[in-house]
Symmetry: C2
Subunit: 187 residues, 2 copies
């Protein structure tokens, strides 16, 4: 696990805004915090990604209050690197890829919000760029959405189907316990 970075994507207060709708995995932040604590305890690389939306209506737009701020459970320490972005992929408009190459980090453990938007896009690009990716199923979450005909789809259905499409093609889908148990073993 020495070269695995924990990549925390968009774990920001604005996702608590009710406008997003009903969410699944309410414990996801607690799982992310457990992983972060483990990474810090072993001095493994931690990378935070922060979405600064340019959409005037987004709770993640820095002009709209404090929603752009990190959630306290996983807020960066002073010596942890932060990449800011304004699209879904953490690799577009940032130096994340060159940073990973420079640091010789070849594998990523990805957590954050939301499963089918920024997490999926970042995991897809990471895998296609040649990184080994573990995506933590219970360390991600999404919201109910309407399909293109206006029919409501549950957050959990969206979450499960996106994980199915990602698993084995772009990444390996794991759980927090999977990751933590292997870290203890390798320690």
């Amino acid at each position: 696990m020495n070269k695995s970075a924990l990549l925390l994507v968009d774990v920001q207060q604005g996702f608590d805004d009710p406008s997003w709708g009903q969410r699944n995995n309410p414990d996801a932040e607690q799982k992310m915090a457990q992983l972060l604590q483990a990474w810090r305890a072993l001095n493994l690389p931690v990378i935070h990604v922060q979405h600064l939306s340019t959409n005037p209506e987004s709770p993640l737009n820095p002009d709209n209050g404090t929603g752009y701020a990190f959630k306290p459970e996983t807020a960066p320490l002073a010596d942890e690197i932060i990449f800011t972005k304004n699209v879904n992929s953490a690799f577009i408009g940032t130096n994340l890829e060159s940073y990973l190459r420079e640091q010789e980090i070849e594998s990523l453990v990805i957590v954050g919000l939301t499963t089918d938007h920024c997490i999926s896009t970042t995991a897809r690009m990471a895998g296609n760029l040649g990184f080994t990716v573990q995506l933590v199923a219970d360390g991600t979450a999404t919201f109910d959405r309407e399909d293109v005909n206006g029919v409501k789809i549950s957050a959990d259905a969206i979450h499960q189907i996106h994980l199915a499409s990602l698993h084995g093609e772009f990444c390996t889908v794991v759980t927090t316990d999977d990751v933590l148990s292997r870290m203890v073993y390798q320690r």
Copy 2:
């Protein structure tokens, strides 16, 4: 529509291999062919993307017979550009982005295979790179997959949920008829 290119992604014979499982949208190739005919008739830009898999077991690996070949319904003409790739995104490991910038093509109409793998990844990157993207719902298709617990999910459920996640965030989901009717109007 003058600056809209038709991007045909991985419309290759290897996707007829039974190993992929049950597919949805059996008429997708016919819809793609209708769009291609319209683009050619109006001399609009057409771009083909071909997946040359490096996976020894893939029907899209050029060492495994003729599965890498284009399907006849939408095969490129001699003067149509082809980008070859070996990951899901048509933008990774190719010059597609620089080609689009050089040609001043700012918007893409995307069709091809499969909805949740190469189409989703390419549409996500296109949107995040700043292109205006229309994704043709009935000009794409996918296959049944198992979820991470081994439970079968239907191709149609996967297709619909992926379109829901993409629509309004990375692209506009449209139908072949939507696109064709606007072309006739603008002609």
